[in-house]
Structures are given as C-alpha cells and as structure tokens.
C-alpha cells in the first residue's frame, strides 16, 4: 500500500514537472504574440530610367531583396544591404543629395508619399499650406533624382497603415542599435522583377482634327487656317504616376472644349466661319516638342502656308489673374500685335489680364522651350498661351509627382477656354472692337464646366509618358474619338521618338513586406524543442520502465565491456 502511494506521488510530481517546459513555452508565446503579422503587399512605382545620347540617368536597377532600415540608423552604419525607407514628411534633401553625390552604396530607396498625391485622390484640399511645403520638397527631390545617375533601385509608394506600422517598428529597432540583418530579424522588402530592358522603338502619336470653314461656291482659293495645338504627354520622376494634371492636362482639356464649341458653331453652314480650324494633340512635348516638329513637317506645304497663326496651350490650369502669351517674333510685328490686341481685349472683358513675353529663338541651341518655337522655325506665326512666366527647362514642368488634380482649378481652365474661343471667334467673324459675346454663359454655346471637369478627372488618373504608351493606347483612342465627334477629319500620325532618348521599362511593381525571424531565434527554438523532447523521453522512460532503465541507457556500453571481459 505504501509503495503504491509512493509511486502515485512520484507520478504526480512527474506530471507537474513535465508541465514546466510547456509553461515556459506558453510564456514565450504570450510575450511574443504581437509578431503574428502576415505578409503585406504594396504597390510601388519605380523611378524613371533613361539615357540621353548614351548618358545614363535615373535609377539603374529594379529588383530588391534587402532588409528595411530607417533614417534613425546609427551614423556610419553600412547600408549597402538595406533598403532605406524615407517618408516625404521627414525628408532631408541635403542628406539624399550627399548620398547620391558621394556615390555611397545603398541597397535601395523607398520614398513614402502622403496619400494626397495619389492620382485618384480628389478630395483633401485642407492643410494646403502643409501640402505646399510637400510639393516644393517633392519638386526638389524629383529634380535631384531625375537628373542624377543612381546605382540602386528607387521606388515611390503611398503611405498606408501597414507601411506606417512597419516604419514605426523599423525605427524602434534602429533606435535600439540593432541593424536588421540575417541574424537579428526585422522586415525584409522584396520586389522581384526582371532586369529593366530598353523600350525597343518608342512611338509618339499625334492626333489632328480638321474642321473646314465655309468656302463660297466657285471660290477655289485655299481658306486661311487657324491652328490650336496642345501636347498631351508627360514626363516625371515616376512614369506610372506622371498624370500631369496641369502640365499639360489642362491644355488638352481646353483644346477639347474649344473644339467642341467651334464644332457646334460650324455645324450650321450659316454660322460657319471663313477660316479652317486645325486642332492638334501632339506628343513628345517634354523632348523638345519633337512630335510637333514631326507633325508640322508631315503637313502638306500648302496647308502649312495657309496657317494664319497657331495658338499653343501649355499649362492653363492654375493661374489666377494673369495669363501670358509667349512669342518668338518681335512684339512690334504686325501679326503679333493683332493677335495680342485681340486677346487682351477679350481678357479685359472677362476680367483678367494677358501679358506678352518675347523670347528669341537661338537656332544653334537645340533646346525648344515652347511649342510655338517649332512653328516659328518653319515660318508659321505662333504663340503659346501659358501661366508659366519662364520657359521650362528640359524635362521640367512636364507632369511631376506633385502635379495632381488638386493643383488644377477648373475655373482657370474655363476662363482660358473663353479667352481662346472668343478671341478666335472675333478674328474669324471679324468682330474686332465690337462688344459681342458669342460664348456667353447661359447660352447654348456656353463653356460646359462638367465636360471640363470630367476630362480633367480622367486625365488626372492616366499616366501619359510617351514611350510607355502603345500605338493603340486607350487614351489615344479616346482622344481620337473625341476629336472625331467634333471635327470633320481626324488623322493619327505615329512617329518614333528621336534616337538620343532611350527609355527602360519596368515602371510599376509589387513590394512584398515580410516579417522575418533571425537565425538565432531558430537556433533557440531548436534548443528548446530538443530539450523538450529529451525531457519527454526521460519522463516516459521513468514512468513506464523505471528510473533504473533510464540510467542503464547511459551505462550500456561499459556493462557490455564488462560482460565480454
């Protein structure tokens, strides 16, 4: 009886003892439960990669497989195998500049942009002063990145809860001085895409719409033509995000609205003017207006000579009280004077001002700053209507990351449309000096704000970098169809982009964020499991076969020897 009790007690003790490893494991579990995040996937957009005459620019790599690091890393730490996560809110331009200019090696750069810069994001006009600060910072960053040769992948992403949580975690770890490597766990960022390849033959597509004027019977002479031109493609730091709402989405929308108004006027022979109208949506704008040049050269000589003047629209979406007319012919030229007077009279009626700005063309310089210069080089009188006062540099102001829908004011576009339409109508119908408003509000020819808004919204969600647009891109088809509705003849011209510009693909990717455990953790787990199994083994041997058996397991070899002896 006593023996039974003893064995029962021993049994009970054994049971309790065996619970200890399990309790310990449970404690570890409870302490570390917050590490149970699943992998997250984020859309990221790559920095543009291009060559000008063989000189490389932009980010030269695309695939990424490194640990995440934040700005709070210890000075002097080696970041060549880490991806630096930079939120725009805490960006230090000088730091990035140093890193790029000193050619320090970095595994990759991930820039987090606030949600307000997302192309589809229409709302959020509040905190505009903060946004203005971000815009200027973003502009500086873009300039730095686009004109530099960066030997590591650079990606843009939009902030969301998951990236915020990850960044907070990474900052905490970095502050403790633990660099995330294979042995200390942390977050691993993986973008698995193939190496970027050159885009074989990038095409630029020009769309022109021809609205013929009223030719009297028996009159065989060519009617004069007025051209309205706008370039629709963009260029920016992240080609998948270059929606260019102001540069030049506003110009395209204005052109379409003017085309619509004149198509209504010209549909009735009684109100058809004695001028042909030529509407052209050109591509290749950021690249010295190559598309415009090729389009002009492809025009019939007679047609080109019949162009009285051309109005080019460039960025008419965010001005307030003054619009500028840029010309290359001297201001005292008779044609220029006439055009300017017409425009300024209409502007006065509408309640704002236009100013004339003259910039001489330098034939030896290949840089074409304004679209009208391409016309002037072919002896066609032209002017550019724009809110910009200084000519943009090469690849600037062509649809940067900060050029989103919120930057554009529909009313500015509507005022611009009224200006162009009324001025053209005055010239066509010969009403100069008379106080007649053809496109008055509340008339059947009023400017349609809903039309303007809907096209502006569409363009603000469509990235339009020319080398990445195929020949039958939906946007091009849509623009073509729109012009077909308003004009009599539409023709689409495909040209290939000038050889000195080379672009590389891979503009959009998915970033996988993994939370990884370190090797030391795995080793620790192995140790714990090993000891657990050993304890389990000993426990079972002791309870079922007795303690002596366990000891004999370890004493077997010597006892055999004794037996042999």
């Amino acid at each position: 009886m006593a023996e039974e009790k003893k064995s029962k007690q021993r049994h009970r003790v054994m049971v309790f003892e065996s619970m200890y490893p399990i309790l310990a494991l449970m404690l570890i579990l409870v302490a570390c439960v917050e590490l149970c995040d699943a992998a997250t996937v984020v859309d990221v957009y790559r920095l543009i990669q291009y060559d000008i005459s063989g000189v490389p620019f932009g980010s030269r790599f695309s695939s990424l497989n490194h640990h995440a690091a934040s700005l709070s890393f210890q000075r002097g730490a080696d970041l060549s195998r880490s991806v630096l996560i930079l939120p725009l809110r805490e960006l230090d331009i000088a730091f990035v500049q140093d890193y790029i200019s000193q050619k320090q090696s970095l595994g990759g750069l991930l820039i987090l942009l606030p949600q307000t810069f997302r192309p589809g994001n229409v709302g959020g006009g509040s905190l505009s002063s903060e946004n203005d600060g971000f815009r200027s910072l973003l502009g500086q960053l873009e300039k730095l990145l686009v004109h530099g040769n960066i030997p590591f992948p650079v990606y843009f992403a939009f902030e969301n809860e998951e990236t915020d949580a990850m960044l907070a975690d990474v900052k905490k770890n970095d502050a403790l001085g633990q660099q995330a490597t294979a042995t200390t766990g942390g977050y691993k960022l993986v973008i698995s895409v193939s190496e970027p390849r050159k885009i074989a033959s990038p095409t630029i597509t020009n769309i022109q719409g021809w609205l013929p004027g009223l030719r009297a019977e028996g009159d065989s002479s060519q009617l004069p033509t007025i051209a309205v031109v706008a370039s629709y493609d963009t260029f920016g730091a992240a080609p998948a995000l270059s929606v260019g709402s102001d540069s030049n989405g506003s110009g395209v929308v204005a052109l379409l609205e003017v085309a619509r108004l004149f198509s209504v006027l010209y549909s009735n022979p009684k109100t058809r003017g004695k001028y042909n109208l030529l509407f052209a949506l050109t591509s290749g704008g950021p690249y010295n207006y190559e598309g415009t040049q090729k389009w002009l050269k492809s025009l019939d000589q007679r047609m080109r000579e019949s162009i009285d003047y051309a109005i080019c629209l460039n960025s008419v979406g965010s001005w307030d009280s003054e619009l500028l007319i840029h010309v290359s012919k001297p201001p005292d030229n008779a044609y220029i004077k006439q055009i300017f007077e017409g425009f300024s009279n209409v502007a006065e009626d509408l309640g704002f001002q236009v100013a004339l700005k003259h910039k001489k063309i330098n034939i030896s310089n290949s840089r074409v700053a304004w679209e009208h210069e391409q016309f002037s080089r072919l002896r066609v009188t032209a002017a550019t209507l724009s809110e910009l006062s200084t000519p943009p540099e090469l690849l600037e102001n062509a649809g940067s990351l900060s050029d989103t829908r919120q930057l554009v004011n529909e009313d500015a576009i509507i005022k611009g449309v009224k200006l162009v339409a009324e001025s053209l109508a005055k010239h066509i119908y010969g009403h100069q000096g008379k106080d007649i408003k053809i496109f008055a509000d509340d008339s059947s020819l009023a400017v349609n704000p809903f039309y303007v808004r809907s096209w502006l919204d569409l363009l603000s969600q469509t990235p339009r970098v020319a080398p990445f647009l195929s020949k039958n891109e939906p946007l091009i088809m849509a623009l073509k169809k729109e012009l077909e509705d308003y004009t009599a003849e539409v023709s689409v011209q495909h040209e290939s982009l000038d050889g000195s510009f080379t672009f590389y693909d891979s503009t959009k990717a998915s970033l996988n964020i993994y939370q990884v455990a370190s090797v030391t953790f795995d080793l620790l787990l192995l140790l714990v499991l090993g000891s657990y199994l050993i304890v389990l083994f000993s426990f079972l041997v002791i309870t079922t076969r007795g303690l002596d058996d366990l000891i004999s397991l370890f004493r077997r070899p010597p006892s055999r020897k004794v037996k042999m002896g």
Binding site: V15, L35, A39, Q515, A517, D522, L525, L526, F537
Partner: protein
C-alpha cells in the same frame, strides 16, 4: 533559414510520437504493427467522416456558432469513437498486454491524425519567408492531441475490453470519454463564441490534455487494482 523553421516545427509536431514509441516499452514489444493498423483504421474513419460532413453539413459564410450544426458535427465526431472501438476491440492484435495495446493504438491514431491534418500546411506554409507563430502553435496542438488520443484509447480499453470494473467508476469513465470525444466541438465553441485566439486555445488544450491524461491514468490504475 526557413527550412530550418520547417524542421523545427516538424520535430515539434511529429517528434513526440517517435519519442513516445521509443521511450516506453512499446518498442521492446515491437508493437509497430498495431500502430500501423490503427493508423489505417484512422484513415478509413476520416474518409467516412468526410463523406458524412459533406453530405449533412451546411457551410456557413461567417464564423457564427450554430448549435444545430455543432451538434451535428459532434455526432459525426462520434464516428471517431466508433473507429477507435473497432481498432481496439475488433482487430486482432498479437499477444500484447492491454496496457500496451491501448498505447499502441492511441499512438498510431494520433500519428495518422497529425500527418493528415498538419503535414501539408506545414510543408506549404512554414517554408515561406514570412515568420508566424502559427506552425509552432500547431505543433503544440499536435502534442495535446497525442495526449488526448492516448487518454481516449485508455478509457476506451477500460470501457470495452475490461469486464470487471468497480461500479462507482463507470460513470466517471464515461464522462471523461465523452469530454475527450467532444473536444473539437468545445474548441470551436471557444473560438467562435468566446472569441479566443489560437494561442489561448492551444494553451487550453494542453492544460486539458494533461488533466485528462492524469485522470485517465488514475482510473486505469484504480481499475487495475481488482485484477491484481
């Protein structure tokens, strides 16, 4: 590194079965055949259960605890018990003492259960880059399941193979057996109605399994006394 994690979780899930076999006298009496037979019976039972579940159960979209569905699931769970009965009582085993028979049957049963339910998720999931605690918890659950199955086998052998039992203990034996048999329903109740997360459930299972093992061990010893 992640294969390492897979290896860790695999030894946590399947190691105890091997350890149990080698540590106890089962290995000495070469009861592998019994365990294999029990595993085969488990496979057949699982198939039958699957067919019944597919036929009678409605899949609900949300994680709502439906008492009727749960009762149906519990009844289908008793097919498990029937399978265990068949393995214990009806199959002919070599001459091994009752003590070892239930252990071997329980071991084979639990091993088949672990392999069937846990090997595939482990292979697919634990080798990924992302680290989660899920597979470690699953391994612990496999351990608890092993203890449960052996306790159930012990109680089963008491119920069906032992003829002379003290009258007072019979209701206890039956209640314990019913509790163990309905463990799946209890855990799903905890998960859905009480909203317990996986770690808590696994902890609960481990504690309960040890308690049940202890109780069934005591019952077994008590029942062995008259035959002495």
């Amino acid at each position: 590194m992640t294969l390492f994690h897979f290896f860790n979780c695999a030894i946590l899930t399947f190691g105890p079965h091997a350890v149990y076999y080698s540590a106890t006298p089962l290995s000495e009496y070469d009861t592998l055949g019994t365990s294999v037979k029990a595993a085969v019976v488990y496979l057949a039972t699982a198939l039958v259960k699957l067919v019944c579940l597919a036929t009678f159960l409605q899949v609900s979209e949300t994680e709502v605890f439906d008492p009727y569905q749960e009762a149906l699931k519990a009844m289908i769970g008793f097919i498990d018990v029937a399978g265990l009965y068949y393995a214990l009582a009806q199959l002919t085993h070599r001459n091994i003492s009752q003590n070892h028979k239930f252990q071997a049957v329980g071991l084979g049963w639990a091993f088949a259960d672990s392999v069937l339910h846990r090997l595939a998720p482990l292979w697919v999931g634990a080798r990924g880059l992302e680290f989660t605690w899920d597979y470690v918890l699953q391994g612990l659950e496999a351990n608890a399941n092993l203890v449960f199955t052996i306790s159930l086998a012990a109680l089963g052998s008491l119920m069906w193979l032992r003829k002379n039992k003290p009258k007072s203990l019979i209701p206890i034996i039956y209640t314990c057996a019913i509790i163990i048999a309905t463990m799946p329903s209890i855990t799903s109740y905890l998960k859905r109605v009480m909203g317990w997360h996986f770690p808590k459930i696994v902890g609960f299972e481990l504690v309960t399994s040890l308690v049940m093992a202890f109780i069934s061990c005591q019952l077994f010893i008590l029942c062995q006394r008259p035959s002495l």
